[in-house]
């Protein structure tokens, strides 16, 4: 359908162009008539086209109608066919269902019969069960009775067996005992006989012993006499030998005495010699010590002489006017002061160098930043130039289009003076003019932006040149840093000195605070404070303090109990109506009035003693009234 529409549009355009070309050919005809003819023709053409379109549409609709009828018939045929198939299937299913129904009816009849039989059987089963239960009960009773009877029978049998065994055991024991009796009697007879024999033997032996003892005594006496005689003989022989040796022994004794005297003299001489040797050794040691001391003293003396000479020549070596230690100390102080001044100069120079280096790094950073910015600006400028070129191209194209459209419109205007197409053309002309104005304004904006970017570029270039000049000047300054002393450096140095002094004061203050805090911490540590995160305090559970507290608590409780007991006694006595002059009442009143404590206990004890003494209750030796 769309292609057909396009073809109709193209045909109308062709007719329009042909109309326009015909209009040019028919320039000779009066303008009013030719226009009417042309109008009629155009109207005819339009009608023809409309008719053709309507006819075409009718044909298409007829075609579609026929197509639809065919499809309708086909669908109807298929539907009838499907319906017949379904009817056949339905009849088949109906037959099956009837068969199934018959089967179901038969099964239901059978089920009813089976239910009846089942109920009858259930009843018979119940009756049988009841009979069985009764019979089982009877059987159980009989079993129980049988079991009891069997148990009694078995117990009786066991008893009988035991009794029989006991009887047998007793018979056996009786027979064994009778046998033993017989044996014992036989033994006894034997023993009697033996005793008699032994008695006779003993008598004979005693007689023989007495005889033997007499003989033994005699033998001992004879032996003693013999031993004595032998001893006498030995003594005689030894005395004889010793008597022969006496003169030799006397000579030997003399000789030994002489030797002894000689050796004692020698030992005395040896001791004296040793003492002399020790004395000489000590003298030698002392001499060696004195020699060493002398050598040391001489060395010291030489060193001192050298030192003295060095001191004396100090003036010549150093070129200073030093004659006394005070002069030397003065020179040393001066040197130290010079050293301090030089150190200060060195410090200032170092600080200046550091400042210059810091400025250099800052300038380098700024230079790199500016270079990056110039690069970015260059890129921007290039993109904007490309945009400008594109815009210029577009402007050219638009101007060409405008010229073309103008030519067309002029031609339309020249040919069509007052027609119905003029408002459309004027509208289109206005739109084209508006487009042109927009493009011109956009072009002007782009040109303005371009000029701005160019100005920025120039400024950046100037800044860059200035930065480069500054960098060169800083480099020159760095080269001659030691010689130049600008006002800015002096100011910086003064500022830095002030900062240093302030920092020093703060440091001292902080140090004092730190010392105070450390003292406090030490005090807390001495008092026993601790960090519970890192430390825990432990003690023995049964320590003397807890034990003493427990004992004290027990004593206090005992005293309290005693006090309550005494108070009760007092109350009972008061209830019984004793006289107020009774010393026991006096005691109880006293105990009631006083507070419970050790003092109370002591007072109560004193009063008790008094009462006991007065009433003669105590039996420890106190005087009785």
């Amino acid at each position: 359908m769309d292609s057909e529409d396009d073809t109709t549009v193209l045909t109308t355009l062709k007719s329009f162009n042909s109309f326009i070309s015909d209009s040019e050919k028919n320039l000779t005809e009066p303008p009013g008539c030719s226009f009417r003819h042309q109008f009629k023709r155009s109207m005819d053409v339009l009608d023809a086209t409309e008719r053709a379109q309507s006819k075409k549409r009718c044909l298409q609709l007829d075609h579609e109608k026929k197509r639809m009828e065919v499809s309708h018939k086909r669908a109807r045929y298929e539907l009838e066919k499907a319906a017949s198939d379904r009817a056949r299937e339905l009849e088949h299913e109906m037959g099956r269902s009837q068969d199934l129904l018959g089967k179901i009816i038969r099964l239901e009849e059978r089920e009813a019969d089976a239910v009846k039989n089942l109920s009858e059987q259930m009843e018979t089963n119940r009756a049988l069960r009841k009979n069985v239960i009764g019979l089982t009960k009877k059987l159980e009773e009989r079993d129980l009775s049988l079991n009891t009877v069997n148990q009694t029978v078995s117990t009786l049998k066991d008893e009988i067996r035991e009794l029989k065994q006991k009887i047998q055991n007793k018979d056996s024991t009786i027979s064994a005992q009778s046998l033993e009796n017989q044996e014992m009697q036989e033994r006894l007879d034997l023993q009697h006989r033996k005793y008699q024999e032994v008695y006779q033997l003993c008598q004979t032996l005693q007689a023989a012993e007495s005889i033997c003892s007499e003989h033994v005594v005699k033998i001992k006496e004879l032996e003693r006499r013999l031993a004595l005689q032998e001893q006498d003989m030995a003594v005689v022989t030894t005395v004889k030998l010793e008597v022969e040796k006496v003169p030799e022994l006397e000579n030997e004794v003399k000789r030994l005495q002489e030797e002894n005297n000689f050796l004692s003299d020698i030992t005395e001489n040896f001791r004296l010699m040793e003492e002399e040797v020790e004395g000489l050794r000590r003298k030698l040691e002392r001499m060696e010590k004195t020699k060493e001391d002398l050598v040391k003293m001489e060395l010291q003396k030489e060193r001192l002489a050298e030192k003295l000479q060095a001191w004396e020549n100090l003036q010549q070596s150093t070129g200073l006017n030093i004659r006394k230690p005070d002069d030397l100390s003065r020179e040393v102080v001066q040197i130290q002061q010079r050293e301090i001044a030089l150190k200060e100069q060195n410090y200032t120079l170092n600080s200046r160098v550091r400042n210059v280096e810091r400025m250099q790094t800052e300038l380098h950073a700024e230079l790199s930043y500016q270079c990056s910015r110039t690069v970015e600006e260059q890129k921007k400028r290039e993109t904007q130039e490309a945009l400008v070129r594109r815009l210029q191209k577009r402007i050219l194209l638009l101007t060409k289009e405008r010229d073309g459209m103008r030519a067309i419109l002029e031609s339309y205007d020249s040919e069509l003076a007052a027609t119905d197409y003029s408002p459309q053309l004027t509208k289109r002309l206005k739109e084209a003019e508006e487009m042109l104005q927009k493009t011109q304004s956009h072009n002007a904006e782009m040109e303005v932006q371009l000029s701005k970017t160019q100005e920025e570029m120039t400024t950046l270039r100037l800044q860059l040149q200035a930065m480069e000049a500054e960098l060169q000047s800083v480099k020159k300054q760095q080269a001659s840093a030691g010689d130049s002393s600008s006002l800015l450096d002096r100011e910086e140095v003064d500022n830095l000195r002030q900062k240093i002094e302030e920092l020093e004061a703060e440091r001292q203050r902080l140090e004092e605070q730190n010392n105070i805090l450390e003292m406090r911490l030490e005090r807390h540590n001495l008092q026993g404070d601790y960090d519970p995160v890192r430390t825990r305090v432990l003690h023995f559970k049964m320590n003397p303090t807890t034990v003493a507290k427990q004992q004290r608590q027990q004593e206090v409780e005992a005293l309290r109990e005693e006090v309550t007991h005494l108070r009760e006694l007092v109350r009972s006595l008061q209830d019984l109506g004793r006289s107020p002059e009774d010393p026991r009442l006096h005691i109880s009143n006293l105990s009631l009035s006083l507070p419970p404590s050790k003092e109370v206990q002591a007072v109560v004890q004193c009063h008790r003693l008094e009462v006991f003494i007065s009433l003669c209750y105590r039996g420890d030796g106190l005087e009785r009234h």
Partner: protein
């Protein structure tokens, strides 16, 4: 342990320090009159005469505490030992004898003995004990019944034995502190001090 040895190990150092605590505690209890003087007998140690208790319960208690302390000294987990004297009537802490213990934990890792003679250590201990005796002259009198307790400051992760429990520091309200001498075995250093309740009448 013979006094002629010139090196000391961790175990020996722990034994020396535990021994010092045993004698020091007995000396303080005698000097401050916590227990009657007739319950003490004279023993010679560190080349001086020292008082040692004969009370069986007190002996048992001190033996238990000192033996556990020795173990902790060997493990280098003990930081302080404090002898606290409390008045029984007022339950106020009257005196605190504090022994700060600094342990060189590198001795635990290396088993090489340190060079310090036991005689030198015993001389230092003797001077500390003499100073303890002399300190008693300026301490206020304890004229009320008192009892004592031993507190041990240990590391937080120390396992609490069965017969021990956690306690508070039992500090003195308004106290005066006096630092005493110290001694060192090169492995354990013991700093002594005493804190007593300020006498408001002075």
């Amino acid at each position: 342990m013979t006094s002629t040895m010139k090196t000391i190990t961790l175990k020996g150092s722990a034994e020396l320090v535990a021994e010092f605590f045993s004698f020091g505690i007995n000396s303080i209890l005698f000097q401050r009159g916590i227990y009657p003087p007739e319950t003490f007998s004279i023993i010679s140690h560190y080349d001086m005469s020292l008082q040692f208790t004969t009370d069986p319960k007190l002996k048992n208690y001190l033996t238990n505490v000192v033996s556990q302390l020795k173990e902790w000294l060997f493990e280098c987990t003990v930081q302080k030992l404090v002898l606290v004297i409390t008045g029984l009537e007022t339950n106020e802490v009257l005196e605190r004898w504090q022994f700060d213990i600094e342990c060189d934990k590198s001795a635990k890792e290396s088993s090489t003995p340190r060079e310090k003679s036991i005689k030198t250590i015993q001389d230092e201990i003797r001077s500390v004990l003499r100073q303890v005796t002399a300190t008693v002259t300026f301490l206020p009198l304890l004229d009320t019944p008192c009892a004592f307790d031993l507190l041990v400051y240990t590391d937080k992760d120390q396992i609490v034995p069965e017969k021990w429990e956690e306690s508070g520091p039992q500090m003195i309200d308004q106290s005066e502190e006096v630092r005493l001498r110290s001694f060192t075995t090169t492995i354990h250093k013991v700093n002594s001090s005493v804190a007593y309740k300020r006498n408001n009448s002075a």
